[in-house]
C-alpha cells in the first residue's frame, strides 16, 4: 500500500489476560446469624451479584460454573466466575444458568447459588434469611417455578421476593425518603445481556402491560461485531473470540446521534481513515538470524577462496592435457619422419600399435592434434575462437555420381548434408541480420518521430495501450457473461453452436442441385467462429496482447516522464479504490504486525445501530426508537386516541424522563441519541431528560438492598412465604410495584402477610 502521508494509527493492543483475584473474604456471618438479614441476589445473565441487604456493595462474578477434573492431580474441581479462566480445560466445561435471555440451566444455578451462600458464610442448617432476587421481566413461569423450588426446598428460605432489575435500578437512582412510598415516573430502558427492555414506571409502579422486550442485547451486538470482523478479515491469522469482540464493543463502539448523517460523512475515505481504531492482536515476529559484518565478510572470503581453488585445479588439468597432446604430437611427427629410416613393415606395425590404420590416418590424427593445440593456445592467450574462417569446400557435391566409386559416393552424401546445414546456418544468420537492421530502422524511425513530435508519439502509444486494455477488458467481460447461462453472450454462443452442428445450413434441395454449396471455409475468417465458441481454452490472443501491452508500456515508461508505473495495466487492474483501502487497509505479505491488526471504522457505529434497527443484523424486531414511539400514545394525551388517560401529568412525565440502566447503557452516545428520538416524538417544547444510572451495572443490586431495608419489605407484602409456596406452587408471586405480574397469586391468597411464624 502506497499512501502519501500515513496518519498516525489509533492502535490499541488487546488486553492481556489477567489472573483472577482470590474471592474476597466474606464479612463475618455472626451479626447476621439468626438476625434474618435479607439476602439480596441479582441473578443477571452475565453477572451474579449477592450480599446482605445491609452491605453497600455486592460480591459477585460472571454467572458461570465449571465442573471438571484437573488432569495433573485427577481431582475434581468446581469453579465459579472468573476462576474458570484460570484453566483452559475448565473454560470448555463452563455452564451458565442462563440460556440467552431465559433462566434454564438449574444445575448451574444451584452451583452458583451454593457459591454465593458459601461466600456469605452461612453455617446454619438452612438459609434462614428472606431472599430478594431478580428475575427476567415477565419471566417464563418454568424458570420461576424451578428457582422457587431451589430456594424453598433446597435452601429452605423463609420467604422469597422477586423483582425486576431495571425497576430496582430506577428506584436506587430516585430513592424516596425512608418513610415515603416510591412515586417516581419514568421510562426505564434496561440494557441486559441478551435483550433490551423498555419498562414504563407510573407513580412508582412498573406498568408491565406496556413493557416491551427487544431481543437484542450486548451479547448479540458482540456476536454481530464478531461476524462483521470475520467477514472483513476472512484470513485473519488468529481466532477472534467473542470475549475479544465484547471488549471491542465496550471500548470502541458508539451510538451515533445521527447515524445516516455519520455514514454520509464516512463516505469520504479521509474521514473513514480518521474514524478508525486499530486493534493490534498479539503476534510473534519470525526469528531471523542476524549476521555481523565480520561474519558476512568471512563467508564471502571463503566462497572466493573456494572459487579460486577450483579455477586453479581446472587450469592445471587443462595444462596437463595440453602437454599430453604436445607430447603425442611430437611422438607422431617423429613417427612420421621415421618412416624413411625404418622398414615398412616395422613402421606399419608401430602405427597399428597406436591404433592408426595407414599413413592417411596418421596425417589426419596429426592434423587434428595440431588444430586442438592451436585452439588451446589461442584460448590461453585470451582470444576468441571464431571457428574456421574460410568457407568449407564441398568438392564432391558437384561431381556426377557416375564418376565416383563407392567410397566417394558415401563421402558425397556426407558433404551434401553438411553443405545443406552450412547453407541453412548462413541463411539464418542473414535473416537475423536483416531483422536487426529492420528493427534498427524502425527504432530510428520511431526515435525521429519521437524527436519531431513527442506529444503525438506518446498519444499514439497511449491510444494503443488503451485499445489493448479495452480489448482485454472486453474479453474478461465476455468471459464473465458466459458464466451466466442466461446472458446475451451465452445465448449467442449457443446459437452459434447449434447452427454449426445443424446439417442444413444449406437447404437440402439446393444441395442436390449442386447450387448454393456450403461455402464455409472459403473465407479464412469463417474459422474464427470455432475460436469464438471455445470458452475453455485460453486464447493466444490474450498472451499476444499482454506481451504487446508490456512492450508499449515499457517504451512509455522509458521516454514519457508523465507515464509512471501507476499507469500500467498491471497497476490499474490491481488498484483498489481509496474507499476500500480506507475501509480495510492492506498490509504487505511479510508484515506480520500489520496482518494481525483489525481496523474498525464503520463497524464502530454499525454494531450499536442495531439496537435501533435489529433488522440489519437479521433480527426481525422493532428497534428502541420504534418501541418508544409505540409507547408514546399511551402516555401523551395529544398523541393518544380519544379517551382520557388517568393521571395525564404523571403519564406525560413517564416518557419525558428516560432512565438507562444495565452495563451496556454505558455505550457512548446512547443518551444523546435517545434524547433526539424523544424530542422528535413528543410535542414540541416538552421537557425531555435522559439519565443514566450512577452505576449501570450495580445499581439494580443497590436498589434491591435499599428496598430490603425498608419497612415495606419488612411488612412482607411483596414476597411469597414457604406456606404459600407449599399451597400454590413455585410459579406464584405477589404483584407489587417492583415485580412481575404474571403468575399472580389467586385473589383469596393475596392478603396474607408474609411472616412465617
Amino acid at each position: 500500500m502506497a499512501s502519501e502521508t500515513p496518519p498516525p494509527l489509533n492502535i490499541h493492543a488487546l488486553p492481556t489476560t489477567y489472573l483472577p483475584t482470590q474471592p474476597p473474604t466474606p464479612e463475618p456471618y455472626a451479626p447476621h446469624r439468626a438476625a434474618r438479614t435479607p439476602i439480596v441476589i441479582d441473578n443477571g445473565s452475565t453477572t451474579l451479584r449477592w450480599g446482605f441487604g445491609t452491605s453497600d456493595t455486592p460480591a459477585g462474578g460472571p454467572n458461570a460454573v465449571a465442573k471438571y477434573k484437573e488432569r495433573k492431580t485427577n481431582k475434581p474441581l468446581l469453579l465459579f466466575g472468573e476462576a474458570i479462566d484460570v484453566e483452559s480445560g475448565a473454560r470448555g466445561q463452563a455452564r451458565t444458568p442462563w440460556e440467552g435471555d431465559v433462566l434454564l440451566n438449574f444445575d448451574a444455578l444451584e452451583n452458583a447459588l451454593d457459591y454465593a451462600f458459601i461466600n456469605l458464610g452461612i453455617d446454619t442448617p438452612t438459609v434462614d434469611h428472606p431472599v430478594l432476587m431478580t428475575e427476567r421481566l415477565c419471566s417464563p413461569l418454568h424458570s420461576r417455578a424451578l428457582t422457587s423450588e431451589l430456594m424453598f426446598e433446597l435452601y429452605s428460605v423463609p420467604s422469597l421476593t422477586y423483582c425486576v432489575d431495571g425497576i430496582m435500578s430506577f428506584y436506587q437512582n430516585n430513592l424516596p425518603a425512608p418513610t415515603d412510598p416510591f412515586t417516581e415516573n419514568g421510562l426505564v430502558i434496561s440494557f441486559n445481556t441478551a435483550s433490551t427492555s423498555v419498562i414504563p414506571i407510573l407513580r412508582g409502579k412498573g406498568v408491565l402491560s406496556l413493557a416491551k422486550r427487544i431481543p437484542w442485547g450486548a451479547s448479540q451486538a458482540s456476536e454481530y461485531l464478531l461476524k462483521l470482523i470475520q467477514l472483513k478479515y476472512p484470513n485473519f491469522p488468529t481466532r477472534v473470540t467473542n470475549v475479544q469482540t465484547n471488549w471491542m464493543l465496550h471500548n470502541f463502539c458508539e451510538v451515533a446521534t445521527d447515524f445516516h448523517g455519520l455514514l454520509r460523512k464516512l463516505r469520504d475515505p479521509l474521514n473513514l481513515r480518521n474514524s478508525e481504531i486499530v486493534v493490534q492482536f498479539p503476534f510473534a515476529l519470525p526469528v531471523t538470524e542476524e549476521k555481523t559484518e565480520e561474519e558476512l565478510a568471512r563467508i564471502a572470503e571463503k566462497r572466493k577462496e573456494q572459487g579460486r581453488k577450483l579455477q586453479e585445479m581446472a587450469a592445471k588439468t587443462r595444462l596437463e592435457k595440453l602437454s599430453q597432446k604436445e607430447t603425442d604430437l611430437q611422438y607422431l611427427t617423429n613417427l612420421k619422419e621415421s618412416k624413411g629410416s625404418e622398414s615398412r613393415r616395422e613402421w606399419v606395425s608401430k602405427l597399428q600399435a597406436e591404433g592408426i590404420d595407414n599413413e592417411a590416418g596418421l596425417d589426419e590424427v596429426i592434423k587434428k592434434l595440431e588444430g586442438d593445440l592451436k585452439k588451446a593456445r589461442k584460448k590461453e592467450a585470451g582470444e576468441v575462437d571464431d571457428g574456421p574462417q574460410e568457407d568449407p569446400s564441398f568438392p564432391l557435391v558437384d561431381v556426377p555420381d557416375a564418376d565416383l566409386d563407392e567410397e566417394q559416393l558415401k563421402e558425397k552424401k556426407k558433404q551434401k548434408l553438411m553443405k545443406a546445414g552450412f547453407e541453412a546456418r548462413v541463411r539464418a544468420r542473414k535473416e537475423k541480420e536483416r531483422e536487426r537492421e529492420e528493427r534498427e530502422v524502425q527504432e530510428r524511425k520511431e526515435e525521429e518521430e519521437r524527436d519531431m513530435d513527442f506529444g503525438g508519439w506518446s498519444r499514439k502509444l497511449r491510444q494503443e495501450q488503451e485499445a489493448l486494455m479495452a480489448k482485454i477488458k472486453d474479453r474478461a467481460r465476455r468471459k464473465a457473461a458466459l458464466t451466466d447461462r442466461k446472458s446475451a453472450a451465452a445465448q449467442a454462443r449457443m446459437k452459434n453452436i447449434a447452427s454449426l452442428a445443424a446439417d442444413d445450413r444449406v437447404p437440402k434441395a439446393k444441395k442436390r442441385k449442386g447450387a448454393g454449396e456450403d461455402m464455409f471455409g472459403a473465407d479464412d475468417a469463417d474459422w474464427a467462429i470455432y475460436r469464438k465458441i471455445n470458452t475453455a481454452a485460453a486464447s493466444d490472443d490474450e498472451e499476444d496482447d499482454l506481451a504487446q501491452l508490456q512492450m508499449i508500456e515499457q517504451k512509455l515508461l522509458m521516454h514519457d516522464p508523465t507515464f509512471t508505473p501507476k499507469h500500467t495495466h498491471a497497476a490499474l487492474t490491481t488498484q483498489r479504490s481509496a474507499l476500500m483501502s480506507a475501509f480495510r487497509p492492506l498490509y504487505e505479505e511479510g508484515d506480520i504486525e500489520g496482518r494481525t491488526r483489525i481496523h474498525l471504522n464503520t463497524e464502530r457505529w454499525r454494531v450499536c445501530e442495531a439496537y435501533f434497527a435489529p433488522g440489519m443484523a437479521g433480527v426481525d424486531s422493532a428497534g428502541l426508537a420504534e418501541v418508544v414511539q409505540n409507547l408514546v400514545p399511551a402516555f401523551v394525551e395529544s398523541r393518544s386516541r380519544p379517551g382520557t388517560l388517568d393521571f395525564p401529568a404523571d403519564r406525560a412525565a413517564v416518557v419525558q424522563n428516560v432512565f438507562l440502566t444495565g452495563a451496556a447503557a454505558r455505550l457512548p452516545g446512547l443518551a444523546p441519541r435517545l434524547h433526539a428520538v424523544l424530542q422528535s416524538l413528543l410535542p414540541p417544547g416538552a421537557p425531555v431528560s435522559v439519565r443514566m444510572a450512577a452505576d449501570p451495572a450495580r445499581d439494580a443490586w443497590r436498589g434491591m438492598a435499599a428496598f430490603s431495608r425498608t419497612a415495606e419489605f419488612a411488612a412482607g407484602h411483596t414476597g411469597v412465604t414457604r406456606a404459600m409456596y407449599d399451597e400454590h406452587g413455585g410459579e406464584r408471586v405477589r404483584r407489587w410495584w417492583g415485580g412481575n405480574w404474571n403468575g399472580e397469586l389467586p385473589e383469596d391468597a393475596r392478603d396474607q402477610r408474609m411472616d412465617v411464624d
Binding site: L19, V127, S143, L154, Y155
Partner: protein, 161 residues
C-alpha cells in the same frame, strides 16, 4: 525444537511446582467447601433438565393461550348476568411472549453489506447491497459461499434457485 513431551505446559500458577501445594485452580475450587445450609432430603426435580429453550417458550405460549381462553369463557358466563362487564377493559397480565417487541414497520435505509455505508444499489445475482462501483468490483469477485456469508450476517437465508 524441544524434545517431544519434554515440556509440559505449566498451569498459570503462582510458581508452585511441588505437588504438595495445589494449583491456583485447585485453590479456587469450592467443591469441598461445606454446605450445611442445603437440605439433604431434597431430590432434584426431574423436570429440571428435560426442557430446552424451545419447549419452555412453546409451553409458555400454550399456557398463555389456554388462560386467555378460559378467561374469555368465564367473562362470557359472567356477562349473561351483567352485560356491562363486556365493555370493561380487562388488564391482562403480560407474559414473556407477550412483551416481545413487534416486527419493525418503519422502513430502514439499506446498508452496504461490505462496508456498512449507505447502499443505494443491490447486486441482482447475489442480492448483496453495495455502496458504489468500487464495492461492486469486490462483490463481483466474491465466491458464492462468501456472498452467502455476507447475506447471513443480515439474516437473509439464501434460497436455492
Amino acid at each position: 525444537m524441544p524434545p517431544k513431551g519434554g515440556f509440559k505446559k505449566k498451569v498459570p500458577s503462582d510458581g508452585t511446582e511441588t505437588p504438595l501445594t495445589p494449583t491456583l485452580a485447585g485453590q479456587l475450587s469450592y467443591l469441598h467447601e461445606p454446605r450445611p445450609f442445603k437440605n439433604p432430603n431434597y431430590t432434584k426435580n426431574t423436570n429440571r433438565r428435560a426442557k430446552n429453550l424451545k419447549t419452555v417458550l412453546g409451553q409458555e405460549r400454550e399456557r398463555e393461550r389456554a388462560e386467555r381462553e378460559t378467561r374469555r369463557i368465564q367473562r362470557e358466563i359472567e356477562a349473561i348476568d351483567n352485560p356491562e362487564l363486556l365493555d370493561e377493559v380487562f388488564e391482562e397480565a403480560p407474559t414473556y411472549t407477550m412483551i416481545e417487541a413487534p416486527p419493525s414497520v418503519i422502513p430502514h435505509k439499506h446498508l452496504c453489506d461490505i462496508t456498512g455505508l449507505e447502499a443505494p444499489y443491490t447486486d441482482p445475482t447475489t442480492g448483496l447491497r453495495y455502496h458504489d462501483k468500487n464495492v461492486y468490483e469486490i462483490i463481483k469477485g466474491l465466491s458464492t459461499s462468501i456472498a452467502k456469508d455476507y447475506l447471513s450476517a443480515r439474516g437473509v437465508r439464501s434460497i436455492v434457485k
